[in-house]
């Protein structure tokens, strides 16, 4: 068995800054854009990049995620050999260890990767919204004869202090790393997407695992070590939509970007589709009084009310005399007759009573969330 590139998708994060959205659910499995889950984006990217072996590293509350990924067939990742593999922490003869860092998670699955005998390993994380053809990055990596390629994008100079910043020479070789620098020397930010030559990575992981000082993190430990060892590290320039959705506000904003026709992130573009694991649901039913503008609505919804600039997930029931504006409503929520909601996120299976009047001011940066159960 030989596969050119194996993707390893870090999906173990709790995402505690997403509050109750991740109370019962891992961050990569949080709903996005109505019908999607965050992990759909990297998985669909893999599919669109012809990568057909993906290891998904899970740890925090993985039930929904495991169930959602299933056999990977939703992303055509169900080949006889290859496909999507869920990799939870496990016990060996000497007992079990949780994944203690991004690099440790890969270290503990060296055996898995070796089964496919790859040239390259692509490291992805499950909390970014973007479309990217990884095969171009792999081609870049090969052309540069790199040991490691890091996808980077230009950010606003005033935001650069919030990112891992890289400085490069004229040939895109990285000369310096600055982690959340006070005085950034460039505005090229790492997107947390890495292509490693597997031979180099494996050696580095073994070395890092033996280092008691290390936190076993790619950004903090492994990459600086490779840089010190003069490995060939290149920056792969990316331009296009990319969002980290690690906070409630960034999650809300990225959702609302989907309703902005001037935004360059387009879910409706059929040449680079985002796939998801769909359940069979009835089509949306719009009652005689329904009024919907500038909104995304999913299958299985029953709508009798008024909706403006909102994103409504599957199986939501919105009764008469309701008004929703700038709202995100997750699956199975019921909005009772008469409720008025603005600028908020309604959690899965929430039941909003008819006398609810929730109107957050526009400057209220933290929308309220009602979560009953996810």
């Amino acid at each position: 068995m030989n596969t050119e590139c194996v993707a390893m998708l870090l999906a173990g994060g709790q995402g505690s800054r997403l509050g109750s959205l991740t109370f019962n659910n891992a961050k990569p499995a949080v709903l996005f854009g109505g019908k999607y889950r965050i992990i759909d984006f990297p998985l669909s990217n893999c599919m669109n990049s012809d990568i057909d072996v993906v290891g998904v590293l899970t740890q925090y509350r993985p039930y929904i995620l495991n169930n959602y990924i299933g056999d990977g067939s939703a992303w055509a990742l169900d080949q006889v050999t290859g496909g999507a593999h869920i990799l939870p922490p496990y016990m060996g003869q000497k007992g079990g260890r949780w994944y203690s860092g991004t690099a440790d998670a890969i270290f503990q699955n060296i055996d898995f990767i070796d089964r496919f005998d790859p040239e390259y390993v692509l490291i992805l994380s499950g909390d970014h919204i973007y479309k990217m053809d990884y095969s171009k990055m792999i081609a870049f990596h090969k052309k540069q004869e790199a040991d490691l390629s890091i996808a980077v994008m230009d950010v606003l100079m005033e935001d650069a202090h919030r990112f891992g910043i890289v400085n490069t020479d004229d040939e895109n070789r990285i000369t310096e790393f600055q982690e959340k620098p006070e005085e950034p020397k460039s505005n090229k930010a790492s997107m947390g997407i890495y292509v490693f030559t597997w031979e180099v990575l494996k050696k580095a992981l073994l070395e890092d695992a033996g280092n008691r000082e290390s936190e076993h993190d790619f950004g903090l430990n492994v990459i600086p070590m490779l840089h010190e060892n003069n490995k060939r590290i290149f920056a792969f320039p990316y331009s296009g939509y990319w969002r980290d959705v690690g906070t409630i506000q960034s999650y809300y904003d990225a959702n609302m970007d989907l309703l902005d026709s001037t935004c360059d992130f387009d879910l409706t573009d059929r040449s680079f589709r985002v796939f998801s694991n769909n359940m069979s649901r009835h089509p949306q039913y719009l009652g005689p009084e329904a009024k919907i503008t500038n909104s995304l609505i999913c299958d299985g919804c029953i709508i009798f009310g008024e909706i403006e600039h909102s994103i409504i997930s599957h199986d939501v029931i919105i009764k008469k005399n309701t008004v929703l504006k700038n709202a995100i409503v997750h699956t199975g929520a019921i909005i009772e007759d008469g409720a008025i909601l603005e600028n908020c996120i309604i959690g899965s299976r929430a039941r909003i009573k008819g006398d609810t009047r929730f109107i957050a001011s526009e400057t209220d940066l933290m929308p309220i969330i009602h979560v009953i159960n996810s």
Binding site: G33, G34, K35, S261, L267, T268, R273, V274, F275, S276, N278, M279, S280, R281, H282, P283, Q284, Y285, L286, G287, P288, E289, A290, K291, I292, T293, N294, S295, L296, I297, C298, D299, I302, I307, I311, I312
Partner: protein
């Protein structure tokens, strides 16, 4: 329900009003209700009743059926246990005028029936729009040691009855007479689903082979005293699609919320092939009400009392009412449609106005460009 084989017949035929939609597909795969195919109702009803061994008889236009059903995974039918079989059939059952239930197709698949361990067979046509649980009918069938149990309904003005439709007489609960519509004495009509003992079915097939008569209803009629035939009543919504008019009315029935609820919102849902689409996008200028909309649509205009299938794109200034737009159609700017039914991939250019009439909507074939 392990002891039951489900058979879904093939009813392609000659009804000219649906001809434009049946050039490349059989009636069983006619798109319906925004995302379904007609056969989804019967197939889901069987699965939801616990039947896990189902044979679907295809026509010579099998490609769309095969593509739609796959191995039956979306209906929870397993390839491992060969739950779903797509069978070849040589003859058609009727739409209007032809043999109502043609046993020739069952004879062609006799080996399938014989190899299966089930002792009873539930047979249904594929063009019924209904949510029906066969369990109660099966209980009646077993309790009466019935040879045949016919599903019937009391007169229903929605149901588009034809002259060769069948009415049942009862003596207590047992069927004592079978009449065609014109000579009917009761108001219980046969709803084109029945349960039959496999042994009885095989005997009838033997008989047909000798007599050359393959019309099951005629055979039942001739043997109504010898056979133990009982009835099981259907009390819910049911429509049969066998003409453009019945297609139109049963589609528009879905816009009545009570019917929508009965068909789709109960515990048992109608399953269908899953397609990947983005959520439907309602733009600033959209106004959509009293309608059913599939996923993947992008809507700029006004839609009322209509059904839009998946992936419809509708541009600014357009109005759609009382119409059915199948998947992947594109409606240009300032278009006005009333009583129009268009098959997949149809394109309506800007500034077009098309006005059909309630009983004779304007119809467009797949891939038309207007």
């Amino acid at each position: 329900m392990k002891n039951i084989i489900g058979i879904i017949l093939n009813v392609d035929g000659e009804d000219t009003s649906l001809r434009d939609f049946l050039e490349h597909r059989s009636l069983s795969t006619l798109p319906f209700g925004g995302r379904y195919r007609l056969i989804d109702f019967t197939l889901s009803n069987m699965v939801n009743s616990g039947i896990s061994s189902i044979g679907v008889i295809g026509s010579h236009k099998y490609s769309s059926l095969v593509d739609h059903l796959g191995t039956g995974k979306e209906w929870s039918l397993s390839r491992k246990t060969q739950d779903l079989s797509i069978l070849s059939g040589t003859s058609n059952n009727r739409i209007g005028g032809l043999i109502k239930i043609n046993l020739r197709n069952l004879q062609d698949n006799r080996a399938y029936l014989e190899h299966n361990s089930g002792e009873h067979v539930i047979i249904s046509t594929p063009n019924l729009v209904t949510s029906f649980d066969f369990k109660n009918a099966y209980d009646i069938h077993l309790n009466n040691n019935s040879d045949i149990t016919m599903i019937f309904k009391k007169d229903d003005p929605r149901y588009n009855l034809l002259d060769d439709d069948i009415y049942l007489d009862f003596n207590k609960n047992r069927v004592s007479g079978i009449h065609y519509k014109k000579s009917r004495v009761t108001n219980h009509f046969f709803a084109e689903m029945f349960i039959i003992k496999k042994s009885v079915l095989l005997r009838l097939l033997d008989l047909s082979k000798i007599t050359g008569d393959w019309d099951l209803m005629e055979m039942i009629q001739a043997n109504v005293d010898e056979l133990r035939i009982y009835g099981a009543q259907h009390r819910g919504y049911i429509q049969r699609v066998n003409s453009l008019e019945s297609y139109m009315t049963s589609s528009m029935d879905l816009l009545e919320f009570e019917i929508m609820q009965e068909l789709f919102l109960g515990k048992k849902t109608i399953h269908t092939k899953i397609k990947d689409n983005h959520p439907s996008l309602y733009c600033d200028s959209a106004h959509v009400y009293n309608s059913i909309v599939g996923s993947g649509c992008i809507i700029h205009g006004t839609v009322s009392h209509s059904i839009l299938f998946r992936d419809t794109i509708m541009h600014e200034g357009s109005h759609i009412q009382n119409s059915i737009i199948m998947q992947k159609c594109e409606i240009g700017k300032n278009v006005s449609l009333n009583y129009v039914v268009m098959d997949k991939d149809t394109i309506i250019r800007d500034n077009t106005t098309l006005m059909g009439r309630p009983h004779s909507p304007i119809v467009f074939k797949k891939g038309s460009v207007i």
